[in-house]
């Protein structure tokens, strides 16, 4: 069953093309979203919602450039999730002194520590450049930024990440990547 211009955008069954799209981008989309929200359960839910949104808003003539389009949907959902009021309230709640803080060793041995020093937008920028392999132009289209702004933001993110690495002793990571 192929997509024709007369095919309605909402169909009860998934289109085979979209099914293959899901299989191809299921893991990368989940990882990009998790790299932004830094929460596994929320990333799974957001990945599901991202595919739902992409399935509803897809266009029949859209046959190429799936990656920037899908990443754009996913990053938009992740940033919306982080900027929502409930998320901010949860953030305030987690800062209460009654709750136990996250274990430092868990944070310091992972890249979450470095990513957590960035703003959500900078995290999106980093995972799109480093992990998804999008070009600056594609990242700019995804995040509605110019290419020069993308370059400046990447430099700023790199500086912050380097500072986060240098301020904490990171023997595991350094040993693994710089033997």
């Amino acid at each position: 069953m192929g997509m024709t211009p007369d095919t309605p955008s909402r169909q009860p069954e998934p289109v085979p093309d979209f099914e293959s799209l899901y299989k191809r981008f299921r893991l990368p989309l989940y990882r990009v979203i998790r790299g932004i929200v830094l929460d596994g359960a929320a990333a799974e839910d957001l990945t599901r919602r991202a595919f739902d949104r992409a399935y509803v808003t897809r266009r029949p003539e859209q046959s190429t450039d799936f990656a920037p389009w899908l990443y754009g949907v996913a990053v938009g959902l992740a940033l919306d999730y982080l900027s929502s009021r409930w998320r901010r309230l949860r953030g305030l709640y987690s800062r209460l002194p009654l709750l136990p803080p996250p274990r430092p060793d868990v944070l310091e041995r992972s890249a979450e520590h470095v990513l957590s020093r960035l703003s959500p937008r900078q995290r999106a920028l980093v995972v799109l450049v480093v992990y998804a392999g999008l070009s600056d132009a594609e990242v700019g289209r995804t995040l509605r930024m110019s290419e020069s702004e993308v370059g400046l933001e990447v430099d700023e993110a790199a500086r912050l990440m380097q500072a986060a690495l240098s301020e904490t002793d990171h023997p595991g990571v350094r040993k693994r990547h710089n033997p």
Partner: protein
């Protein structure tokens, strides 16, 4: 064009392992509950269906609050709710003033009617024949229209049920006895007429 910020060369060796760090960490993440096959969710339609529900509830709450403010009392609010529900408010008994109950009439009479007394009807002059005829016509009308109450604690009140009404006051014989004062409340024990 790719930004060299994260893919730094030998000039910035600290940044060299940053992409590797992020890439390696992201590659180690696997979803645990994400379905291997795509199943389109029906959640957006459900949401669009349920979205007006909080608005309707909020509007209902506002209407109730406005009714409370306009009614002024919880009792009146209850009446408003009963009216909105389609019931008859008369089904709920409303307290009446003592004067209306003491009349003993079976009909529902408004309380202010007992207080309104026309002096011309209560004390008609002797020589006014037109007014006398009018009063007699009122009295006959009152006799035919006012039913005799079945239950009345006061037997004297049951004999003359419309004593406090202007029609009954005017219907009495003009020269048969002392005229009743303007009735605020019915007299407790009317004095019996002396037998000639």
């Amino acid at each position: 064009m790719q930004t060299p910020g994260l893919e730094a060369g030998p000039a910035d060796p600290g940044n060299r392992h940053l992409p590797e760090l992020v890439r390696t960490r992201l590659d180690s993440w696997y979803p645990s509950r994400l379905a291997p096959r795509f199943q389109p969710s029906q959640r957006p339609r459900t949401r669009s269906f349920l979205r007006p529900l909080p608005l309707v509830l909020a509007a209902l709450l506002l209407v109730l609050l406005a009714a409370t403010a306009l009614a002024g009392s919880p009792r009146a609010l209850t009446d408003v709710i009963v009216n909105l529900a389609g019931s008859h408010p008369g089904a709920t008994p409303t307290p009446r003033p003592h004067s209306a109950i003491a009349v003993g009439s079976g009909q529902v009479q408004p309380a202010p009617a007992a207080d309104v007394t026309t002096p011309a009807l209560a004390t008609p002059s002797l020589g006014d024949a037109g007014l006398l005829a009018q009063n007699q016509r009122f009295a006959s009308a009152a006799r035919t229209s006012t039913p005799i109450p079945a239950l009345s604690p006061d037997p004297l009140a049951s004999v003359s049920p419309g004593l406090s009404t202007p029609e009954a006051a005017g219907g009495r014989p003009v020269n048969s006895g002392p005229t009743l004062p303007p009735v605020e409340s019915p007299p407790p024990t009317p004095t019996p007429q002396p037998i000639p």
